[in-house]
């Protein structure tokens, strides 16, 4: 099979879908904005990762929203998604409960996992979403979820999101081969934000586009340039339809942008001067809004949808901040299934 350059027109026809994509991108960006505010509380003037209401590493998704909405627009709650250490935009687009997700990030009892997981370990079985903290970790599980759906004769599929750095992991190559051998209904979505922490893609990847690697595993590989939600929507639509119809796996690589550091506090000295400013000038959300307006969407409709999305995030953060912490003793619960305290 050949590598396809996605040339789908940027005139998707489904008005509601595109309105949802816009509002969801706005929602994700607003979620990250509130995370940023909370994360920096207690960390100024001296930045110490252990301090404040949200400690630990924080990997923000600003700039990568088109990948999440373009793919998840095609997904149903029964479809499984595995995401990365940079998961918020995907979780939001997959429909993860915003209040419980925010509460988890604040380490509260009402969080998705009662505070045990944190921002890199969000699990919401209601919408079949999970993410994890080690590169390429979610690919094998996505193949497994996809096989389970196939064995159940369900039309559910699985999507594994990964970064471009993960395409150099053994797990990537093994999972693609396995998915193809099993004809598992899975879509592998590479969010190519050009950097694995400090190391540029061009300095560590033997090919320019990972999409061509699909050829080695007998599956279609699609390259989507431009960080464009509509083109991603089109490419993902074909891949998801193929998977649901029993046509097996697809690899999609999306050129996207990381507008923030690898994590908050990253000095980003490895970026060329002016790069971040240039990327921010191409921010995909205002660009998408401009396109929708140019195509006849009314500003009022866009504002109404975005406003509602933002209000949900605001409510989620009010909820998360007010929520109680778990009792420390709860730390011993859930080490094994079917048990409470394990000590």
């Amino acid at each position: 099979m050949s590598t396809l350059e996605s040339t789908a027109p940027s005139r998707a026809t489904n008005r509601n879908q595109r309105l949802w994509m816009y509002a969801t991108m706005v929602q994700s960006r607003h979620f990250e904005a509130l995370v940023k505010v909370a994360y920096l509380e207690g960390k100024q003037p001296l930045f110490n990762m252990a301090k404040g209401p949200i400690p630990g590493e924080m990997h923000l998704s600003d700039g990568q929203e088109p990948c999440a909405v373009g793919v998840c627009a095609h997904l149903r709650p029964g479809d499984a998604v595995t995401a990365t250490h940079r998961p918020h935009h995907i979780a939001i687009a997959k429909g993860v409960d915003l209040k419980a997700m925010a509460a988890e990030i604040f380490g509260k009892k009402a969080g998705l996992s009662g505070g045990r997981g944190g921002h890199m370990h969000l699990f919401d079985p209601a919408v079949n979403f999970a993410c994890s903290g080690i590169v390429a970790q979610g690919l094998g599980p996505a193949v497994g979820s996809a096989l389970a759906a196939k064995l159940r004769d369900a039309s559910d599929i699985a999507v594994a999101f990964l970064g471009e750095g993960a395409a150099n992991q053994g797990a990537f190559h093994e999972a693609l081969n396995l998915a193809a051998v099993w004809q598992a209904p899975v879509v592998f979505v590479i969010e190519d934000n050009a950097y694995g922490i400090s190391v540029a893609k061009r300095d560590c990847t033997a090919v320019e586009s990972n999409a061509i690697r699909a050829a080695g595993y007998g599956m279609p590989g699609v390259h989507v340039p431009g960080n464009d939600a509509d083109r991603i929507l089109a490419a993902a639509g074909e891949a998801v339809a193929r998977a649901r119809a029993g046509g097996g796996p697809t690899l999609i690589e999306i050129e996207t942008t990381r507008l923030e550091g690898h994590f908050m506090g990253d000095a980003e000295g490895y970026r060329p001067a002016g790069e971040v400013e240039a990327l921010k000038a191409r921010d995909p959300i205002p660009a998408y809004r401009a396109r929708l307006l140019a195509e006849g969407f009314e500003a009022e409709a866009l504002d109404r949808a975005a406003g509602a999305a933002i209000a949900e995030v605001d409510a989620a953060f009010v909820f998360a901040r007010r929520a109680d912490y778990p009792a420390p003793e709860e730390v011993f619960e859930h080490v094994f299934a079917g048990e409470g305290a394990s000590q």
């Binding site: 001296l46 252990a50 400690p55 080690i134 150099n168 730390v331 011993f332």
Partner: protein, 343 residues
């Protein structure tokens, strides 16, 4: 140990490691350093600062996120006359590449009947306490120490870090060099100030397999490693105010364990408390206690005690994590309970 009498400066562990690497690279052309973000960035935890500028990209290699490949490559380099130093950012990430470490590096010398040694150093960060969740907070000392053929070291201070690094590179065996994030001297993680010490500029080695009595005492022996040495020292200072004299042993090397120093101290004080931030069961603390108790060893006046991280994954939320992490207060309470039960 060669003791240098030249100039000393106060350095962090990160700077001391970087200096040791630079000095050895200058002295020995077979030494090269590789890993993720170790070049331009100088290591996420600052252990390779300045090396790329000084030695260039042939000897200081930013790798793809391909641990299976670069750990395997390190074994091959070591078998081919080089002395590779490979960093894998977090000890939690070793699942990806463990085969090259425990089945190749650790066994090469043995399987070859001593004909092919494996002089490589694996550097990695350990430890939690800053809310980074359960895939970025483990210690896993015992996991590595359990495997024959690997040496495992962990410094508690910058002076030992430099000396242990020089010993590790010169050792003809694979050495896992663990460094604790709470001691590393990276501002964004906070640092136990006592880990920042005078470090000689000159070349010197700290022997592998030799523990240090870092505080002398007569009533109880506190054994620690890495961060827990500092918890023990804090506890010893608090206990001194109540008239209890605690001796503190810094293991410095986990494998091979300096059993003689442990036994001598336990024999002297008659009481033993081991402090370990790794999972408790089957761990370093059990090995230390067995060392003292087996073979009709020292007669203790009280049953020995372990203060270790319990057998649960590391939770994100600080209210849970700090509840279960070892701390000085827990050590003091354990010693006081021990003395009350058997004065």
């Amino acid at each position: 140990m060669t003791t240098a009498t030249t100039t000393t400066r106060r350095l962090t562990i990160a700077k001391a490691m970087s200096e040791a690497l630079a000095q050895e690279m200058a002295r020995d052309p077979s030494v090269l350093v590789m890993g993720e973000d170790i070049g331009k960035l100088g290591g996420v935890f600052g252990a390779t600062q300045g090396l790329l500028d000084r030695f260039g990209p042939e000897r200081v290699r930013d790798t793809p996120i391909s641990e299976t490949a670069f750990m395997g490559a390190a074994v091959g380099l070591a078998a081919s006359g080089m002395r590779p130093v490979a960093e894998l950012m977090f000890v939690d990430f070793f699942g990806v590449c463990m085969d090259a470490i425990y089945n190749l590096a650790a066994k090469q010398n043995y399987f070859s009947g001593g004909k092919v040694s494996c002089p490589m150093v694996i550097m990695t960060s350990v430890g939690g306490g800053y809310g980074d969740g359960g895939q970025h907070s483990q210690c896993l000392y015992a996991t590595f120490a359990h495997l024959p053929g690997l040496k495992v070291v962990i410094p508690s201070n910058a002076r030992d870090a430099k000396g242990l690094m020089l010993s590790a590179i010169r050792d003809d065996n694979p050495v896992v060099f663990m460094f604790h994030k709470a001691l590393q001297g990276m501002g964004w993680l906070g640092t136990v100030q006592r880990s920042i010490t005078d470090v000689p500029e000159a070349d010197y080695t700290t022997p592998i397999g030799v523990a240090a009595v870092v505080r002398e005492g007569t009533d109880v022996t506190l054994v620690g490693l890495g961060l827990t040495v500092h918890l023990a020292l804090d506890a010893a200072a608090a206990l001194a105010k109540t008239g209890v004299s605690a001796e503190v042993v810094d293991l410095r090397t986990v494998s091979p364990l300096d059993r003689a120093t442990i036994r001598a101290s336990a024999a002297k004080t008659g009481r033993l408390v081991v402090i370990d931030d790794d999972y408790m069961s089957f761990g370093v603390s059990a090995e230390v206690i067995a060392t003292v108790c087996e073979h009709g060893g020292a007669r203790l006046r009280s049953p020995p005690m372990r203060i270790a991280y319990p057998d649960i994954p590391v939770p994100f939320t600080p209210v849970m994590e700090h509840f279960v992490l070892p701390n000085a207060e827990k050590v003091v309470a354990a010693v006081q309970a021990m003395l009350e039960a058997a004065p």
